[in-house]
Symmetry: D2
Subunit: 374 residues, 4 copies
């Protein structure tokens, strides 16, 4: 892969050549952040609408514009491609780029199905290329703080996570509320949940009170391996806007409110613990009392998550390691998203994920099945 080869004697050539495909809603943010990285040479912006591509450059010089992905892939100096096109095109474009030996950063979702996502992961592995998902929230200082709180053991055993992501918004024409808003929360959970707390089942409820043919309101429940629970409220029809995540551990409980710039994270030193009665045998009858403790709101550095994300992409390429939100995390999220309609079809019954992960699965295996002649 000449594109990523570095040559000590010619430091200019050492910079990673990058192309951004898609200059719509998200592309300009990628352009701005790649352009801000000294270690990268932003070479192309590709969009079906060349004028839009040019507009996204706001006068930056030295970046070429095209409506052809071939132009991008024919440039040997391009080592990595960032994809910010409509969701249905992510996987096909990623495949072309990987086939052409380029590292790939894909906007969420990685693909429209788990199978397609797995194929991309396999292809990237075979070609020894970086495949990364742009799960931007995972690179925010707030989510990284939550991650560390759990990973360090400070928070104690996880008890529950409750996420609310609601607002009065536009009903998307092509996806339902689960695919529109869910990837944000699912990627955050995928990042902060430790290995022993992975989701084992997915249950969902939804409503389409406008009769538009897709869910506008969705609730998702994940049972976690350690007995904890995670719950999402996703809603396009809410009069109020909220972006909160409660992460409750046996020692610390954290509330993340992404709309409260002055107090984004509040960590409560409160916990529920079993009564200290001497009758240890009657555990089930024990009362639980709560401890009151101090709250702290850590000062979080004010930096853009997207800048950290593109840096991670470039670093992963440079060191040949998997990035934090690699293709595998993208596949795990697809697996969760695909389980949702299965649960809905079962009246909201929890769908086991283990069965779904099995390689040759003929049919949807669920915790409940059949007998659905209503």
């Amino acid at each position: 892969m000449p594109a990523t080869t570095t040559d000590g004697s010619r430091p200019q050539r050492a910079r990673l050549g990058v192309a951004v495909i898609g200059a719509g809603y998200w592309g300009p943010n990628l352009i701005r952040n790649f352009a801000g990285l000294g270690t990268v040479d932003l070479r192309w912006v590709c969009d079906r609408d060349v004028d839009r591509a040019r507009g996204a450059l706001v006068g930056r010089s030295g970046v070429r514009v095209t409506d052809s992905i071939d132009d991008v892939l024919n440039d040997p100096a391009v080592g990595a491609v960032a994809i910010a096109t409509p969701a249905a095109t992510h996987a096909p474009i990623a495949r072309r780029c990987l086939d052409a030996g380029r590292h790939v950063l894909s906007e969420k979702p990685l693909a429209c199905s788990t199978l397609d996502g797995e194929a991309l992961v396999e292809l990237a592995d075979r070609r020894d290329l970086v495949l990364m998902c742009d799960h931007t929230y995972c690179y925010s200082t707030a989510v990284q703080y939550l991650h560390d709180l759990i990973a360090s053991g400070e928070a104690g055993d996880l008890q529950y996570l409750d996420s609310v992501r609601i607002n009065l918004g536009i009903v998307q024409p092509d996806v339902d509320v689960f695919w529109d808003l869910g990837p944000h929360d699912l990627s955050i959970l995928d990042y902060i949940l430790p290995a022993d707390c992975r989701p084992v089942s997915v249950a969902a409820q939804s409503a389409d009170p406008l009769g538009v043919g897709r869910a506008c309101i969705g609730y998702v429940t994940l049972q976690l391996a350690n007995g904890a629970i995670a719950h999402l409220h996703l809603n396009w029809l809410s009069p109020t806007k909220a972006r909160t995540l409660v992460t409750s551990g046996s020692r610390l409980m954290a509330v993340w409110d992404d709309l409260a710039p002055a107090q984004r994270i509040s960590v409560y030193d409160r916990g529920a613990s079993l009564g200290a009665g001497d009758d240890r045998s009657s555990r089930h009858a024990a009362l639980v009392s709560y401890r009151l403790g101090d709250m702290r709101a850590p000062a979080l550095e004010d930096r853009e998550a997207l800048a950290t994300m593109v840096t991670e992409f470039v670093d992963a390429i440079g060191s040949g390691r998997a990035p934090l939100t690699d293709g595998r995390s993208g596949v795990r999220i697809l697996r969760l998203l695909e389980a949702i309609p299965d649960s809905l079809a079962l009246g909201g019954a929890a769908v086991l994920l283990d069965d779904r992960a099995a390689p040759h699965r003929d049919q949807v295996e669920t915790v409940v099945q059949n007998g659905r002649e209503r």
Copy 2:
């Protein structure tokens, strides 16, 4: 029923004689409110612990204290009994009182099972007595405002209701979080939902991350007859306290925040509506845009819900009509509560309520059944 007979020539005897049974947590509030009613003669406070009964009177004179329900029922001047004893005793005590020809006000829940509740309703009907549930929240000015907003048609078609009732509290020794906190929300919904929006199914998810043997965190989803959805979040382990209900209609959306005394109800004149495109045939592809409008926070009268509730009880007795929150509403709530463990046993699948209401039901009928060999 001499107790409720009124005699125009002797107006003093016209006052309804009342007894309160149970002087624990809730009883003193009933005592205070009945004592404050000029139309009532509070005659007895009955509690196993006579000292507690006396203490609950805080020096009020003219009220007798006893530990025997017989004393109460042997007093012909007692026309009505209010029950505020532990939950398991509500139904047996109510039955004794109804059998003895007394009107009954019962703390929630009305009984521990739908069958027991139905038997009480039938008994009260047969004896032509008032049987009322103390669903206090329904008598708050906030809930009455919400009720009127819906009943008048102002709010438009209901789209969804989302309730959050969470705090860091004591894990109850005898009931789970559904039976502890759920009756509040379910009785509120029972009151404000119009006849064409009644729940048709119940689904639930729960967690017991402390391993205390009962749910400490619960999520309940009700599918409503008109296609809308209602969702409850009930939680004993939350670091923050919340008491909110969003009631979203096609015209108005209301947020009730019971912990915001200065702005308890916010009514948003915002709605989501189908795009006004001319292509009416492609309804499913239609985008929904939102309208922005004013918000208003009505000034709510500052009166105690419990005072309104006891007044309703006395008025219903006086006029021989069913009270707002009669025994039937209590039974409807029991039916919802009883469906929760059935749904949990099915992995969270929605349990149809119609089947449950059938008179001779041998087994739990659900939207999904069997095949549960996990």
Copy 3:
């Protein structure tokens, strides 16, 4: 003083006999708290309206009721008197009680003038009696936390204090907004300000936009001895209610919001500091940058300030020491309150307190006395 004599052999008689004079708005709270103290024998409630006195007892036995202060003072078992009568009567009643050899707890204000207050202090000193002001806020856990934050040096050098005490309320018929609301804030400042930060001058602005003949809106500025500033906003006409105090030190800044039960105190580890430039000579040109740090909200014990206050009164009597909010603090507050109309008469110019404290002051001395011919 037989009333406070303790007799080891007859422990029952060791309890301090207490009388409460005034059973209106505040008296019942004093009655409840004295009655809750095991070390005290509440003997009398005295009010012009004997029925009101009786009502305030809500059935407590063993407490006598009277409309005559003589009855109270003729009871040798009464060692201490708490006064909760209208403001104008505080000083005369306190004088009678002190003259009769009783310890005195007075509701704020201690008197209607500094001179009257000083006379009470002198009388109490001469008779070796405790004279205490019921500055209840000083005994709240929040204010005690603020006090300790400053006294321990943790907060650093004080920079400014800003208090807002506003609401939509009743315009008092006898006092202006300064005398109605000001004593709360002034007593809090008197308690938490260290000796080197005492007020040196008082300035005030006011408005009477309703034309009722007294200030309904008031602003008070205190220049403190160390160069810091304290400012009060007092307002009867505000659409919103606020009870906040910002206490800003060079190391820590604390915000007390008395209406936020879940986060009453927030301590910010932020400070402003002079630029670290080496050019120390150009100090005035130095930029100040701010440091960002964590915030913490300490868990405050949930106890009633009034209970702590009456305990302090009884303890001070028992140990013969001055209470925390003694008569001298009451006089200091009167001195501040009396300076307000003087400043108003001067268009809001700051009035020096040192001069005011001088015994024979002929005229108002202000900081602007001289050199006004610019």
Copy 4:
């Protein structure tokens, strides 16, 4: 003035030629907004630092860059100049532009002294040119809503205004907190106060607890002609950030919270009114009771104030009328700012504005000038 001449037959030339002088903090915002106006031909950006000027253009074509004001003024197609240079240079640059027959938009403050500001006004009048101050806040939808609420009479008689503009910020090297933050609030008041509520006096208090040689904390009180009061709290050292303005009228009270995007304006239908007692003679003894009413939060259009401001500038030029925030309003604000140090020198005594406005004023006239021998 050829620059503003319009020629119907050559519509291209009808567009107003505009130059922006100063490309530092504020200039780029002006550039972006003028460039967005179809009716304007943005021709020059002028800055001492030509690279900065070029950077501010972010690739916009057809705009020339220079470090010489002469280049700008020698271009006959330039009809109007917007000045966003350091404060001390506003007046000299504005004078050059007016002398050269160009309309002028000046960033606040208009000048560093009232005299300089008045000279500019006079010059613009003489040359029949538009002189406008960029008081951006006055063009926000929130302030315009407040203005209309008062101007329409809906709010009733003004009672008080209370503004808080505080944050933890950088201590400016050249101005104190009054000149840094005060112009925002003073220009808002100048815009929304009706003619009969103009300020009649200014009083101020300040502190410099860091010893940096200028006020970091400031309080300003304006007595208004109708007996109402306006008060500003300006603060560079606050741990919390606030941008609120309470505007209280006899009928409506409005709270503007510029940091609450979802509820920027709250209008309370509460008022204080004199008691309805029949004894009109005893007005001063009357109690005031408050009425409780609904609150409403109007939906405010989401548009940029700056865009409205530049449109107003262009419209005023086109129609030959005075703009909303003309030079005269700039002078009124300078007059208020200049009174602040005078009041500070007098210990905070109110300084009368009428006297200050007199042409030949020898000395500071204050409300407390006479009659101080009380």
